[in-house]
Symmetry: C2
């Protein structure tokens, strides 16, 4: 029984958002040390990846990603301490859905792929007493 | 301190999704008894609202919304038992983020609007012993 996949987006006010795309980009920058390489992995242009990094940096009180100077920003990139913290808290939120909401996700998964008569419910008890 | 607003989308496989838009539409159909009126409330056309209802109905093992016959589907609409159940479990999932993830949401809120030096952390202890 495949579980529904959870996509979580946070609206941060003033049109700012943090969601699955930025979280993945941040994760890849941490792994690859490069905005260009991280963007390439996600099949986006350097310009698009850089735009998302600028959005993230402007959303928080400190930058989440810093870049080495030189080569018009094509130098290496590092995820900052705050960047790792934001990513960690975001992952906790997704985990909260998957753990605290496990039963709810299971109900939804079951209601997709099985007839409703097969779902557990008070009707089952009635069926057993009937026979 | 405003908390980030949580938007949750479920990927149900085969390109099917259930998220904030469909949940709101379902809620409004339950309140207003009409797909047209619910769509109007969300500033979408009848065609768009109907399309979303068809998507929802096709995603689950039974319809989430049924319509009265007559007037080319412009009759009344009802949310089914399964519709209410899916909506309830979806709301539980959003609630799980807000309750189980309260501390994570608070960290993110604080990191948006205050300098990082104001965030609670081990550094605070050091500062107190320094003075």
């Amino acid at each position: 029984m495949p579980r529904p996949q959870v996509k979580l987006r946070l609206l941060l006010g003033d049109g700012r958002t943090f969601g699955p795309g930025k979280a993945e980009l941040l994760t890849l920058i941490a792994q690859l040390g490069s905005i260009t390489a991280a963007g390439r992995e996600m099949e986006m242009s350097y310009k698009r990846a850089w735009g998302l990094v600028e959005e993230m940096n402007a959303s928080f009180c400190e930058a989440l990603v810093t870049t080495a100077r030189g080569g018009a920003g094509h130098g290496g990139a590092q995820v900052t301490e705050l960047g790792y913290e934001v990513l960690s808290h975001y992952r906790n939120l997704v985990g909260a859905v998957e753990v605290a909401g496990a039963n709810d996700l299971e109900f939804i998964a079951l209601s997709l792929s099985l007839g409703k008569d097969d779902l557990p419910g008070p009707e089952d008890t009635v069926m057993f007493t009937k026979t």
